[in-house]
């Protein structure tokens, strides 16, 4: 079985983000790391390949400056190889532009299953996996919290507002996985060393046959007109508990007529 996992390399969420003034898009000039949301997709792919008695797990990522730091993390977890699409014309791409690029790259890999996180931690539109399926003409099951593959059919528990739906779909298909569905493994020292030698194939837009006008800021066809600071909440009262702070809560709730 061949599983392709979409991974996004994002600015470190621990460092406050900033916008590129001209475009209103996220500044990605600093080092990028593997989005934690995607570590679940990688782990799920590794587990499904193992359950199938072996298989290939390939990564696909789109990032500026041929950034591979995040890809190496996923390779160290156990993925076999990666395709990285980098092109200056991709800066400022929106979800649809991203999906066009990833879809074109994935189509060349002839995957049985395409996995992705439900949403990235920086953009969180939650639309890219479904768009990739749309671009590729594949079925898709989003918000998966459990996946089993048997005889070429994926059985998926798809999270819903009320609980979950059981969904069946013959492969190939795109499945997006929610955070927390599996416990992502930590790369071992051996894995980290091995990852340095695993193949990462670089591609640009021309190699994928995509017109630069269809992606990037121009392709996104949305214009940032203003960025404002949100009103801050007024600072409240902070009390250190000396054994009776619960009384302050009771008093607060009484004032609000909650009790």
């Amino acid at each position: 079985m061949k599983v392709v996992v979409c991974v996004k390399q994002i600015p470190d969420p621990a460092i406050p983000g900033e916008l590129v003034p001209e475009t209103g898009t996220l500044n990605r000039d600093d080092k990028l790391i593997l989005d934690e949301s995607d570590s679940y997709g990688v782990e799920m792919a590794l587990q499904l390949a193992e359950a199938a008695g072996g298989g290939q797990v390939s990564l696909v990522s789109m990032a500026p400056r041929s950034e591979t730091s995040g890809l190496r993390t996923a390779l160290a977890m156990g993925a076999d190889d990666a395709v990285l699409i980098s092109d200056d014309a991709l800066a400022g791409s929106d979800a649809l532009g991203t999906a066009k690029v990833l879809g074109a790259a994935i189509a060349e890999l002839e995957a049985d299953l395409v996995l992705a996180g439900v949403e990235s931690s920086d953009g969180y539109t939650g639309t890219v996996p479904e768009m990739i399926a749309g671009v590729m003409g594949l079925p898709s099951i989003t918000f998966a919290k459990q996946i089993e593959i048997s005889d070429g059919v994926a059985s998926v528990q798809r999270q819903t507002e009320a609980g979950y739906d059981q969904v069946e779909c013959a492969l190939p298909a795109v499945v997006s996985v929610t955070a927390g569905v599996v416990e992502p493994r930590y790369p071992s020292f051996k894995g980290i060393m091995a990852a340095k030698k695993k193949p990462v194939e670089g591609k640009d837009l021309a190699a994928l046959g995509i017109d630069a006008a269809a992606v990037g800021v121009a392709g996104a066809r949305q214009e940032t007109v203003e960025v404002t600071d949100a009103p801050e909440r007024e600072a409240g009262e902070i009390i250190t508990d000396e054994g009776d702070a619960h009384a302050n809560i009771v008093e607060f709730l009484t004032e609000l007529k909650v009790i």
Binding site: P16, G17, L19, G24, A95, L96, A99, Y124, T125, T127, V128, E130, M131, A133, G134, G137, L138, P139, S140, T142, K145, R158, Q159, T160, E161, A162, G163, Y164, D165, Q166, V167, E168, C169, A173, T178, A179, G180, A220, R221, Q222, E223, T228, D229, A230, R233, G236, E237, I238, I239, T240, D241, A245, H246, N248, I249, V250, F252, L256, V258, I259
Partner: protein, 320 residues
């Protein structure tokens, strides 16, 4: 200045339209002369409520069957927007809303504006407002692709208010073959048991996070919620850890709540959580780390151990 027509992606069940759908209908009617709706299911059941919130016609998809909503709704919507030429299509930021908008974006080759909390019409263009960087800033974006603009909105961004209209007319829209992309089928639907006030509309919400230390300690959240007639919620951390079901998750990837009082117990206040609850009228936080970001939004913050403060609070409420 208003648009001629906004089409609303209407979600609901046999009991009627979802709160989010009615919020969007209320907003849409301030932005457009005519508001219509496309319902992938339950069109008839929603017609009265949608009409009462300003929707003139509900286009009800016929023949979804066991198919997934996104791919089939989008296939039918692509033809529907060609035929009816709305200026914008509004979606709720839900699982099916995201799927449908994403598929439609590909079919119609248009961007989708996501995670919005506000909208206005400027010089004939839809301008949407999206909170970024954990809600510390708002970005306003004008939609520059050809109509219809596709835009998705977060729950509780607008207040639902009836317009006094009668039931919306219902017209059937035939399903369109989505081809191989439509081959996934739903073989079973599982609803988790729900009891007590619901997170979405409770006046008081008590939520627990990682600071509870272990899954068993969540019973304190339930007990406190019970005493206050509150709904119980959770941070993503303990949902991911499997302590409580996803239905309880408050935050960016869970529910957005705006109760009168929100009580955060052992929640540090990651951005992911704050965006789901900082619109609450009054916020109480209990956390042992005085540097926790949750104290930045709390009206009353208790720096202390949830395992001491919560039992004492529960006892105090019981003895009243």
């Amino acid at each position: 200045m208003t648009l001629a027509q906004i089409l609303l992606f209407a979600e609901g069940d046999a009991d009627g339209a979802s709160g989010l759908t009615l919020e969007l209908a209320t907003k849409a009617r301030t932005l457009a002369d005519t508001v219509t709706a496309f319902a992938p299911a339950h069109g008839e059941a929603m017609a009265a409520e949608l009409g009462a919130h300003g929707v003139s016609t509900v286009y009800a998809l016929d023949g979804l069957g066991d198919g997934l909503v996104g791919v089939h709704a989008a296939a039918a919507l692509a033809g529907h927007i060609e035929a009816t030429s709305p200026d914008a299509v509004f979606f709720g930021q839900t699982t099916d809303g995201r799927d449908t908008a994403a598929r439609l974006a590909v079919l119609a080759d248009r961007p989708v504006s996501t995670n919005n909390v506000g909208a206005e019409i400027v010089d004939g263009a839809l301008v949407t407002e999206e909170p970024i960087f954990g809600g510390t800033q708002n970005i306003f974006t004008a939609y520059r692709a050809p109509a219809p603009a596709l835009a998705m909105f977060r729950p509780k961004s607008f207040e639902a208010e009836p317009s006094g209209g009668g039931a919306a007319a219902v017209e059937s829209v035939a399903a369109v073959d989505a081809g191989e992309a439509g081959r996934a089928t739903v073989t079973g639907r599982h609803a988790e048991e729900r009891s007590g006030p619901q997170l979405d509309d409770a006046a008081v919400v008590v939520s627990g996070g990682r600071g509870l230390g272990q899954p068993e300690a969540y019973s304190m959240v339930d007990e406190l919620a019970g005493l206050l007639g509150a709904a119980s919620g959770a941070s993503r951390a303990i949902v991911d850890a499997g302590w409580v079901p996803y239905a309880k998750q408050v935050g960016q990837t869970g529910k957005v709540v705006k109760p009168n009082v929100y009580i955060a117990c052992g929640i540090s206040g990651a951005t992911q959580h704050l965006v789901g609850m900082k619109g609450s009228k009054n916020i109480v936080a209990i956390n042992k780390d005085p540097e926790a970001p949750i104290f930045g939004v709390a009206d009353l913050g208790i720096v202390g151990d949830v395992h001491k403060v919560m039992p004492a609070l529960i006892e105090a409420l019981k003895s009243r």
